[in-house]
């Protein structure tokens, strides 16, 4: 390992802005994307469940 201290690690030999700017952007986007995909799946599932409940309610009212 080439780092003598934590501070040295974060300084990245003077390239901190560039190195952390690159890894940071990757981290943010690669964490955000799965959350967005998950939310999209959740939204369509909830919409489908609501639709089915509405159908069931309608058929109940018809039989009454």
């Amino acid at each position: 390992m080439q780092w003598n201290s934590v501070g040295e690690f974060f300084a990245m030999g003077g390239y901190a802005l560039y190195v952390w700017g690159s890894f940071g952007a990757c981290a943010i986007l690669l964490i955000a994307e799965p959350f967005l995909a998950k939310r999209r799946l959740k939204q369509i599932r909830q919409s489908l469940i609501r639709e089915r409940l509405a159908d069931e309610l309608e058929s109940q009212q018809r039989t009454q």
Binding site: F9, Y15, S22, A37, K38, L41, E51, R52
Partner: protein, 246 residues
């Protein structure tokens, strides 16, 4: 032969692909995490300081995987789009649609990390050089594919129009890949070459390959997540979807 053909087509239906994708996703996340942790460890703690670029070269561990994936995803997306166009299979077109945002994200990361690498090493965030310009065109191709699909109301027609755009755009991939050979560019040549030994330290190479594998597994996992949502959205009026959600 016939039996295996039927087996193959079985998973080509949205109804059987939806649960299959759901079962595969956790495995790809696990693989992405393992490769990602190992890759990051090598990137920051094992790989030595570069003789010319100091610690600044460490951007390579995200820049190269993102760039590779941006090109690779495009080819896969065009393959699925073309397959959907030729065979009229629904899941193929949905796969193509699902891959586009992830590909666009990889292209954006490639350009972003490239700019952050270019500034300290070349003194410029951006130059209109063949490699950079063709990668920017790739990013626009992804955006164009998504915009075109979103602009057409009928999903089957949107698939067809998108597929043609995707297939025509494939011509850009070899242009990106060979740009550093064909033109005199500021961008350095490829680090990994099929017919000569890689021009970098072994540990750096391993870090890069592990990060590339992590990005690859990530892309599959997230594309499968999105395709599940797309399947439900587009098949919502079918009987099986009504029973698929409890």
């Amino acid at each position: 032969m016939r039996q295996s053909l039927i087996q193959w087509f079985k998973f080509a239906s949205p109804q059987s692909f939806y649960p299959l994708a759901g079962r595969m996703i956790p495995w790809f996340w696990a693989a992405a995490a393992v490769f990602g942790i190992a890759g990051l460890w090598i990137s920051f703690f094992v790989a030595p300081t570069d003789a010319q670029q100091g610690e600044g070269y460490r951007i390579i561990f995200v820049h190269v995987p993102a760039s590779w994936m941006s090109m690779f995803i495009y080819v896969v997306m065009a393959f699925w789009a073309g397959r959907g166009l030729a065979l009229n299979t629904r899941v193929s077109a949905m796969m193509a649609q699902s891959l586009a945002p992830t590909g666009a994200l990889m292209a954006a990361l490639s350009l972003w990390t490239g700019a952050l690498w270019g500034k300290p090493m070349w003194g410029a965030w951006w130059v209109w050089d063949a490699r950079l310009t063709s990668e920017l065109i790739l990013f626009f191709l992804y955006l164009g594919f998504m915009a075109l699909q979103a602009a057409i109301d009928d999903p089957r027609r949107a698939d067809k129009a998108g597929a043609i755009l995707a297939l025509v755009g494939v011509v850009n991939i070899p242009i990106i890949y060979f740009s550093v050979k064909w033109w005199n560019t500021l961008h350095q040549g490829s680090t990994i070459n099929l017919n000569k030994a890689p021009s970098m330290a072994q540990t750096m190479l391993w870090g890069m390959l592990l990060m590339a594998l992590a990005f690859w597994m990530y892309s599959i996992a997230v594309a499968l997540m999105r395709v599940r949502a797309i399947i439900l959205e587009r098949e919502r009026h079918t009987e099986w979807v009504k029973h698929a959600v409890e």
